[in-house]
Amino acid sequence: MNLPLKPLRGPRLSRRELIIASTVTAGGALLVGCSPAQMLGLGTPHMDFGPFGPFVRIEPNGDVTVVSKHIEFGQGNHAGLAAIVAEELDADWSRVKVVQSPANVNVYANSGQGVQGTGGSSAINNSWDQLRKAGAAARAMFVGAAAAKWNVPAAEISVKDGVVSHGSGKSATFADLLADAGKIAPPATPTLKDPKSFNLIGTDRVRRKDSLAKATGAARFTQDVQMPKMLTAMVAHAPRFGGVVKSFDATDAKAVAGVVDVFKIPTGVAVVANSTFAARQGRDALKVQWDDAKAEKRGSDAILASYKALASGQAQPTGDAKWQSFASRGAAPTSGRVVEATFDFPYLAHAPMEPMNCVAEIGGGKNKLTFGSQIPTVDQMNTAFIVGALPGSVEIETLFAGGSFGRRANFKSDYAAECVHIAKHVGGGRPVKLVWTREDDMTGGYYRPLTHHAVKVTLDADGFPAHWRHRIVTQSIMKGSPVKPSGVDPTAIEGTEDSPYLKATPAVDGQVALMDAGVPVLWWRSVGATHSAFVMEHMIDQLAHAAGKDPVEYRRALYRKAGANRHLAVLNLAMEKAGPSPLAGWTRGVAVHACFGSVVAQIAEVKLEGGEPRVGRVVTAIDCGVAISPDQIAAQMEGGTCYGLSAALFGKVTMTDGVVDQKNFDGYRVLRMNEAPKVETYILPSAAHPSGVGEPGTPVIGPAVANALLAMTGKPTRSLPLVS
């Protein structure tokens, strides 16, 4: 199967949706005669990018600066983006550095999403053509300058490691030619290299540029921002989602030394202080009465029970909710072996190491945010709405973020908007740093949605699926955002709806019910695949067991039926690299899943230790198109596997009477070093357009482990996490 590159996830706004979003922000009068892109860019100041355009700067000493429009919060995209430019420019990689772009949707929009933002594992994918052209154009300008200076044909000039040379022996550095090259018009369609001649891309020379800064404490995160006169804020939030402030008594809070002010904002009560510790003490001393009239007061058990009742047919959707079909063809056979399974997935917190935070300066002619902005355009729009400005006039300086995993890509800009409200109240452009504690972060919502799947498969005489009935009950991530998909929320059905197993099944009946719950939900690294990959891959092993077939051979047969050649190729590569059998005492489980344009196969070796699954060797094969940095792809497979394994083994957020039970890492168990697997990564050679690597490594390990446990114990997994 030639898997088409899926629509990039994140804020993919249609024209109509953009108009809706912008109307809210900028006021209808401004919209007349504007295209959506113009509306988003309203107020964006003119920026002078220099002769080589918005993505490439050549410094006077010949060093190359690549401007990344994407935030770096671990994915290694800064290295990959820089390597794309350096390859086409033939720069000296050791003299290439990366800086973060400002917010400017007119030039730094995600090519697949229409807004400036990082998400859906799209940074490399959407920048590939753009940055190749930027690098190639700059190279052509240096070649042109040399050709004129030496009076030789441009075709006879070569460039290597930042040195331009001619067969006659003439040579010059980028620094030597900088002034002349800057006067040459960049070619509209620069000639790109034949990928066969790449000498940087695909090599182990493409390494991170930020490792030293991050190994010395010098890398600057939002948490580290310090400015003259800066205040630090904390906010008392309602204990239940949807709760609001009824009243508060700030007497004790204001008595804390260092507390400057206490006031109400839309999301709670803000305590503003001269230091983080004073803000914390002030907030601890604050007394707030909450109004829970409109709050979600159900526990997560009750929410799950209601989802299960729907899926089993014991209850019918009410209100806005209804069953929506995402796959329908053929009829159920009247005979054949039936295999049924249900799967429960809890809410999950992203829990990045740096809790949410933001620095805002509002007033006095300034509207500026300094933080790890994942979707600057949306953060500009939300800020503009609060302060009454044009979105493009909101300045954003994007810093490194200590992880996100989806949490910082929030259509409401929740924590950033909170900081803007506080800074607006403080006024005068005085910098305010909002600090969320770990407890704020963990109980603050925007979780991976609680989700239930019920699957019933009828097998044919050969043991393969003849009919696949699938019910999903979950909460829509897209509902309530400025993006209103016209059909079924794709984040709820991806990985199920496009599964090769459904394609290989003659008759299918897939339906989803998107339920309302007062718990805010959001994409969580790999989004829909966080549950669909588990369901499809663990179901396949249960079917193979029922059919008396080897799960790997069973998959291969279904991939052939579906024409899923990339699935087959990565499975075969992983099997080849894994070798014939695990070490004594370990049991293997296999899983394969495609998302964000890439396909990943994993073979996990598992044993039980003290009643808990222990994962040792994990053999990973990925097809992600052209591999720009094999080392960083491996890093993402290692890290993605740990992130997915952490969730599969331990991850859960629960609520009792609407109050989140897990407050910190003592309650929300995460994977630690002694529990981490050894991941081996093998990359399928490919000349295809590069696809995602940040997320595809996450959803595969869970079902691989469950399949190993099934092989070991005969018991299927019905709910996550595995360790209660």
Binding site: F73, G74, S211, S275, R438, D666, R672, P677
Partner: protein, 154 residues
């Protein structure tokens, strides 16, 4: 109220009250922001510093409890510690936020156990969470630094 702390070999006088955690004094008052806040309850290790050579969670260490102690932060390793070289060699960091704490825990380990086993590393490092999941490279980098001829710990 003023208190003197010995940090990275230098005596620093600070104004914070004695119940203030060392973490916030380092970060807010002294501008040593390499030491990170991650959980505030000694569960994640992002705030790890050395107090008299011992890996200690600064978020749970009030400055009032520190008298003549020698405090070392990530800035005090100077950027030339064998672990820092190994971190770069292996491209250990992803988001990087936890790495100061990881390196401080590892440096304390190597100071006491110059040739640690994998089990020694797990024992010393399981208190440091990395949500990016760089554990495999952290371990490889520690083993690499331990094998380096100049590795003597912090």
């Amino acid at each position: 109220m003023a208190k003197t702390l010995k940090i990275n070999g230098v005596s620093r006088t600070v104004a914070a009250p004695p119940d203030t955690p060392l973490l916030w004094v380092l970060r807010d008052e002294l501008g040593l922001t390499g030491t990170k806040y991650g959980c505030g309850i000694a569960q994640c290790g992002a705030c790890t510093v050395h107090i008299d050579g011992k890996a200690t969670r600064s978020c749970q260490t009030p400055i009032g409890a520190l008298n003549d102690a020698n405090i070392t932060t990530i800035e005090g390793l100077g950027g030339t510690h064998p672990l820092q070289a190994a971190w770069v060699k292996h491209d250990v960091p992803q988001c990087g936020y936890c790495q100061s704490g990881q390196i401080m825990s590892a440096a304390a380990l190597l100071a006491g156990t110059p040739r640690p086993s994998e089990a020694d590393i797990d024992g010393a490092m399981h208190g440091n969470i990395c949500r990016c999941g760089a554990y495999q490279r952290i371990k490889a980098a520690i083993l690499d630094a331990a094998a380096a001829p100049t590795a003597t710990g912090a």
